[in-house]
Symmetry: C2
Subunit: 180 residues, 2 copies
């Protein structure tokens, strides 16, 4: 697909068909994700590829337990039905104090690459400033090395929903310069 | 361009030809950027489009003054030659405590859209955890509303350099699961 179509048609997908995404396709997505920019070209990414049902369930449990009050309507159980959950982490020894930026730029690339392959995916956070336990529990579950911190969680599967196009706020409202 | 080519050929560009990027093209980029995912679909983006030479210079000065020790080799002066500098901010009243994620997902989309149009761009940060003055000075310079916080700075122009393809760390080194 061309870039504009990928960007415009990407939606957050939380329902997946019961069908496995081939490893080769997941590798393609990760291969693209590592082309994201990174601070001082540190390429600090670390991708955990979660395929075990039990690990998916425990990830969903952690997310549910640490869900902030205002997001309680959105349970994380749907993750268990994803074919694969990719957790994007960053090795802080390579991240030049830019762990979060580096991870999210790769995660965003991953979301677009998934859409391009007609896969469904959704962005979820693996940390919370006021609740450090969220990150710690995920880190322990995935047995991540001490210096490696999870930032984003991306469930991926074949979509079993096709949400209507998103209604967007007007662009003019978002731009501060009236001249353009 | 197709998505894979855009992702694989994007590089951080810091040298620009002395040629103006039309407003209509900048609008296209911002229009695409707002299709990024956002927490609870809050679409909290606020784009400052900097075209004045004096404002570009002051932005570069702020970045230089707040540059961390280990990045001193990289002066920000090059920004002044960009046709346009887009500062991506987030209105925290719409961001559901996910200001940084929301901004970076839009900024990453903007970088890909720029590459797709053969424009050169580079990701820069507008905040630093241990140096809150960086953000504050940018906020004051751009006269951003109290609730609106700058996260990313993206200089954009016609490229005047074509860096060699980036040499990437091996994908296997970045994946924790040997089975894929």
């Amino acid at each position: 697909m061309n870039l504009d179509d990928v960007i415009r048609t990407r939606r957050s997908i939380r329902k997946y068909r019961d069908e496995e995404v081939p490893d080769s396709v997941i590798r393609e997505l990760l291969d693209l994700a590592r082309h994201a920019p990174s601070s001082m070209n540190g390429q600090p990414w670390y991708f955990s590829v979660v395929k075990e049902a039990e690990t998916k369930k425990r990830l969903a449990d952690i997310k549910n337990r640490h869900c902030p009050e205002d997001k309680r309507a959105f349970r994380a159980d749907f993750m268990e039905a994803a074919s694969v959950i990719v957790v994007v982490s960053v090795d802080s020894r390579r991240a030049h104090e830019r762990d979060v930026e580096n991870a999210i730029l790769a995660a965003g690339t991953l979301l677009l690459a998934a859409r391009d392959r007609n896969l469904g995916a959704v962005y979820m956070s693996a940390y919370q400033a006021d609740d450090p336990l969220l990150r710690e529990e995920i880190k322990r579950l995935l047995a991540l090395p001490e210096a490696v911190n999870p930032v984003s969680i991306i469930p991926i599967g074949y979509p079993d929903e096709s949400p209507a196009p998103k209604s967007l706020r007007s662009l003019d409202e978002m731009i501060d310069d009236e001249s353009i």
